[in-house]
């Protein structure tokens, strides 16, 4: 039988498509069912945060960082306030440091839970969708009782955190951590341990280590391709060097491992929160900071490990109340560069699954 060639078909996926996790758009070139080229198009959620920063004071900019990766806003707050503090050489109270870690790790768990839900939904796992969302609700309740807001928490300040957590926070957190292993068991049983899920995701969308190094990819995506690289270990920020946790690494390089790695990361985040709970000291949660912050002239680059990749802030200050430039390096935006490498040669139905495994959040991609 001779090789049949088909006419190239150009399909526009998104921005309004349920599998595009927001308003991402891809122009996909197809040969029959096989993807030959992908053109990512972004900007549908572009708000010009970097430009807005130039006309805001340093404190006023904190709520904007919530809107980057809106599924894990405390992590973004953490990155920003630590960058400013680094520039000001500000020491913050111990209790605030611990609260920040607890919030950031809770946000990481919440973000990964949404990932498991939405990734399962993309292979029609409707049942799976409900379970992580049910459990994430408990984290959002914890956020709500301590910051008043469920998603865009705006919980951190330059010099500490907004306020101390209420007394009922601790028993609620304790019971959440006690239930966490059962939750993971459940997710594995219903989704990742499922034969259909395995069949859909194993050996699909191979991300090679060379691609990762060339394209500067970061986050759980690379740890599923055998990279033992996590900023919390490679360049510890805040008090992360005090905690005993592992960086989970899988060697499959495929879509399945990119899903699986999230379960392990939830487990490790649980360990960090448990240690933080045990060791948190009493005391103030805010350093003495003037109402109007003037940051000394200079520039600094700081990066943290976010649930979806590394978030970096580059701040240039001229000594006034407003920054000259705030540059935001986001994880997903960079990670999406690899789409052209991993999607080529796969079929359309696999494209959806592979794209889901990158956990794109468009607030972070479009800034």
């Amino acid at each position: 039988m001779g090789e049949a060639s088909t006419e190239e078909l150009i399909v526009n996926l998104g921005p309004q498509h349920p599998s595009m996790h927001g308003v991402f758009r891809m122009v996909v070139h197809l040969d029959g069912e096989i993807v030959t080229k992908v053109e990512p198009k972004m900007g549908y959620l572009h708000r010009g945060i970097e430009k807005l920063a130039e006309s805001r004071t340093y404190q006023q900019f904190i709520p904007y960082t919530d809107r980057l990766d809106y599924l894990a806003s405390p992590c973004n707050n953490l990155a920003y306030v630590q960058t400013v503090e680094k520039l000001m050489e500000l020491e913050i109270p111990e209790r605030a440091e611990y609260l920040r870690v607890i919030f950031a790790e809770l946000a990481r768990i919440a973000s990964h839970m949404v990932f498991i839900s939405s990734a399962a939904l993309d292979i029609a796992g409707w049942t799976t969708w409900g379970y992580p969302f049910r459990d994430r609700e408990r984290i959002l309740d914890l956020f709500e009782m301590s910051t008043g807001s469920r998603m865009t928490t705006n919980s951190m300040r330059i010099g500490g955190v907004q306020n101390d957590v209420p007394p009922e926070f601790w028993p609620a957190l304790q019971s959440f951590l006690e239930d966490l292993p059962d939750m993971l068991e459940e997710y594995y049983g219903i989704y990742l341990g499922n034969e259909i899920a395995m069949g859909r995701m194993k050996h699909i969308g191979i991300l090679s280590p060379e691609t990762i190094k060339d394209l500067s990819l970061t986050g759980p995506v690379i740890r599923a391709s055998g990279f033992d690289y996590d900023v919390r270990k490679a360049e510890p920020y805040g008090i992360y060097d005090r905690f005993d946790f592992k960086v989970p690494v899988l060697n499959g390089c495929d879509t399945y491992d990119r899903n699986m790695i999230r379960l392990y990361e939830i487990e490790e985040s649980g360990k960090i929160i448990r240690q933080a709970m045990e060791n948190i000291p009493d005391g103030p949660v805010m350093a003495k900071v003037p109402k109007l912050i003037k940051v000394p002239a200079g520039e600094v680059y700081h990066r943290v490990e976010n649930p979806k990749g590394e978030l970096g802030f580059y701040i240039v200050s001229d000594g006034t109340q407003k920054p000259v430039r705030i540059r935001i390096r986001t994880g997903t935006f960079t990670n999406l560069q690899s789409l052209n490498k991993v999607l080529i040669g796969n079929t359309v139905q696999d494209l959806i699954v592979i794209f889901a495994s990158f956990d794109a959040v468009l607030g972070e991609v479009d800034k």
């Binding site: 972004m42 900007g43 572009h46 010009g48 970097e50 430009k51 680094k86 520039l87 190094k213 060339d214 394209l215 500067s216 990819l217 990279f227 690289y229 490679a234 360049e235 200079g298 520039e299 600094v300 680059y301 700081h302 990066r303 590394e310 970096g312 580059y314 240039v316 430039r325 540059r327 390096r329 935006f333 960079t334 999406l336 560069q337 479009d366 800034k367």
Partner: protein, 163 residues
């Protein structure tokens, strides 16, 4: 500590070769070079003997009023070394060689810098606006970009009687 000295030595050697300027920043070393030497600089930094800065962590444009800068944040996959490289780009003719031939990951960032500052990256495979629409006028992150005042931007509308 030894690492820092070694990095300083390598950066000094490189600076002498490309006519660059080394400064001690608050967080890491800063090497400033002219735009025509950027590829040579990046390639050398990527393969520093014993202390490679082989992880391009970020690339961003910066408007320094009399000139533009392209700022490269380098890290390493294997060690703690950090380096910031700044390339000075002429304001009237903002052209610089694309770093995509050294790191493919520079692709989107260079498109973003082009989108926001109008810096042209020579040799880039697909230099188009990434966030804004193609016929957008001006480059918003330039300091001389004029944003209209809020009164003009806000479209106010008065209700007519029958509404």
């Amino acid at each position: 500590m030894e690492n820092k000295e070694l990095l300083r030595k390598r950066v000094d050697e490189l600076a002498a070769r490309v006519g660059g300027n080394v400064a001690e920043g608050s967080d890491n070393l800063v090497l400033t070079v002219n735009s025509q030497y950027i590829i040579e600089t990046l390639e050398a930094a990527k393969t520093f003997d014993g202390i490679p800065c082989d992880f391009l962590h970020d690339l961003a444009g910066f408007d320094a009023k009399d000139h533009f800068e392209v700022v490269y944040q380098l890290r390493s996959w294997s060690g703690p070394q950090k380096l910031r490289i700044k390339a000075i780009v002429d304001r009237d003719n903002p052209v610089i060689d694309s770093a995509t031939r050294v790191w493919g990951g520079a692709n989107f960032w260079e498109r973003e810098a082009y989108d926001m500052f109008g810096i042209v990256f020579k040799g880039h495979p697909n230099l188009k606006r990434i966030y804004l629409w193609d016929d957008f006028e001006g480059f918003p992150l330039r300091k001389d970009y004029v944003t209209e005042p809020a009164e003009v931007r806000n479209i106010t509308r008065v209700r007519t009687d029958n509404e």
